[in-house]
């Protein structure tokens, strides 16, 4: 075990759904579950790293303090991080830095959200002509699914991907999540179900696109010394081996939300690895592993087609080969490298600040052999991959 590994002592969730309740209620359930799983008391937590939500007022912007107060003030240090979809990974990194620097031994990483119905729209009122997120809606009507559709269409026109290929991702993930007690959508989907659902942003259909959900996830991470004292032996206990929160290197050449344009590569050569590749490879390098060492991956399937993109960014296959890898069954549970054994966003929907934490929770359950109904045989090492808008990378490697 590396000296820089963090021990994951406990994980917990509030199931994903759509109820519109106060987000802190969900967070409390997840926090209590993680504490119980870790076998520690709330008073043992020295640091609370909250992942922010921006759709729930002031308490959402100061998530660390919000949960510390909700659980009962103990004097614990807090942090609150916002990195869009990558907020959970950024919170984990903050907790990790505090533990590795020796400032604390036990930290809680927590995120929860309540989401409105329909398309995500810019947060806050008024004309904001300097805010690219406001402008992309106002000037273009460029919704999140529209950006997902741009990437899907690239796969079709460049690699010959079909709507059936995209539907097959949904079919796989719906099978994976069928028995996951925390998943919101637990229904088997056939290719026809996807193809018969309405087109939202061509070429993507309703069942290609992830929903927005309420939900919460939490984990307890500790120093090695604390965990050894607490558990006796660390054999078989999942450990965080890398956290990548990479940002792009100029020029960023993929058109990403919420931008109107990419950077220019007219004068400065693009980096050898594009942004989404670098998110994953920075994690591999930190952990000293490669894609061939993985037992599984949890990737951000905001759309079915984006899951296929991640296969390539993760190096599971070469660019243009993701549809082949999917069709081979390699990414289905029982295959060589199962992707989204939890069911992914396809079965959960997106609860933004909780999602990157939820990805890690799934890896932990798989590594402990506790992923009932979706267990991968002999799981030893897993990776998460995700990206938050405005250039936030998120990739975590967990192993036993």
């Amino acid at each position: 075990m590396s000296d820089r590994d963090l021990v994951v002592l406990g994980v917990g969730m509030h199931p994903w759904g759509k109820w519109g309740r106060d987000f802190t209620e969900y967070g409390m359930v997840a926090a209590r579950a993680a504490l119980k799983d870790a076998g520690i008391e709330w008073k043992d937590v020295q640091y609370v790293a909250g992942a922010d939500t921006i759709r729930n007022g002031y308490p959402g912007f100061i998530a660390g303090a919000t949960f510390a107060q909700k659980m009962g003030w103990t004097g614990a240090r807090v942090s609150s991080s916002y990195a869009a979809c990558a907020s959970g990974a950024m919170s984990l990194q903050t907790a990790r830095a505090s533990i590795l620097a020796g400032f604390c031994d036990v930290a809680m990483v927590i995120g929860a959200d309540t989401t409105p119905k329909g398309f995500f729209a810019p947060v806050g009122g008024g004309d904001r002509k300097n805010d690219p997120d406001w402008l992309r809606f106002h000037l273009l009507g460029a919704t999140n699914p529209a950006y997902f559709a741009l990437f899907a269409r690239r796969r079709m026109d460049l690699y010959g991907a079909t709507s059936e290929d995209f539907a097959q991702v949904k079919v796989k993930n719906s099978l994976h999540g069928l028995n996951n007690p925390n998943a919101r959508f637990r229904k088997e989907n056939a290719v026809e179900d996807v193809l018969n659902s309405p087109v939202v942003s061509d070429p993507l259909r309703l069942l290609d696109i992830c929903a927005t959900s309420d939900g919460a996830a939490a984990m307890i991470v500790t120093s090695r010394a604390f965990a050894e004292k607490h558990l006796g032996s660390l054999k078989g206990v999942p450990r965080i081996k890398a956290v990548s929160t990479s940002t792009p290197t100029y020029p960023q050449t993929l058109l990403e939300m919420p931008d109107f344009a990419t950077d220019s590569s007219a004068v400065v050569m693009p980096p050898a690895r594009g942004f989404k590749d670098s998110i994953c490879w920075d994690a591999y390098e930190e952990a000293g592993v490669g894609p061939e060492d993985l037992s599984m991956a949890e990737v951000y399937d905001l759309s079915t087609a984006l899951e296929l993109d991640w296969y390539e960014h993760l190096g599971l296959c070469a660019p243009g080969e993701a549809e082949g890898l999917l069709r081979s069954g390699a990414t289905t549970i029982g295959g060589r490298i199962p992707v989204n054994p939890s069911g992914g966003l396809s079965c959960f929907g997106e609860a933004i600040p909780a999602q990157a934490i939820a990805q890690v929770c799934e890896l932990v359950w798989q590594l402990r052999g506790q992923a009932e109904g979706r267990q991968i045989d002999n799981a030893k090492l897993g990776i998460t991959a995700n990206q938050g808008l405005f250039g936030h990378g998120s990739s975590v490697i967990v192993g036993v």
């Binding site: 729209a121 809606f137 000037l139 273009l140 529209a146 061509d202 100029y250 990419t262 007219a266």
Partner: protein, 157 residues
């Protein structure tokens, strides 16, 4: 810029300074006076390149022609602050690669040009179209249309 913008009381740009409203419209980006890199939307101040410490960006006309990087078609009305027409008509979004400037710019396609009319690699040219109408004023936006003009004639620069 060689063209003079035609001023029409009933047409105003939905956003100032991003494009011209003339016979051969083009985008206005910014270029670094020191290293020559480009940026869109146009802005002032710091060069976006980390290797350049220049604080001088100047407004510059972008090529009117480019090729499709990708495209999408919105089938549902986007939420506010988009002013969707009622009844809503599907429309396409097109990301176009500009060779000289080395970047991709996202825009709408003109009304009536849909995904079925587009293909990655297709040649496009910049036009303008009405984004929304309010109090008798047309708020205009740049759009990417399939190229019909010869670049030599229509090229901004």
């Amino acid at each position: 810029m060689s063209e003079t913008a035609t001023s029409n009381a009933s047409q105003v740009p939905a956003i100032e300074g991003w494009f011209t409203l003339d016979q051969n419209p083009h985008l206005i980006g910014a270029q670094c006076t020191a290293c020559g890199t480009y940026v869109f939307p146009p802005r002032e101040g710091a060069c976006p390149s980390p290797s350049c410490d220049s604080d001088e960006l100047t407004a510059t006309p972008f090529s009117r022609f480019g090729t499709v990087w990708s495209y999408a078609e919105n089938r549902y009305a986007p939420p506010l602050p988009y002013r969707a027409a009622e009844p809503f008509e599907p429309y396409a979004l097109v990301a176009v690669q500009l060779e000289k400037e080395g970047l991709i710019v996202l825009g709408q396609a003109p009304k009536g040009i849909l995904a079925k009319d587009l293909k990655v690699g297709m040649r496009m040219q910049l036009e303008t179209d009405v984004l929304y109408r309010e109090d008798g004023v047309d708020y205009m936006i740049y759009v990417w249309a399939p190229a019909v003009q010869d670049e030599v004639v229509g090229g901004a620069k």
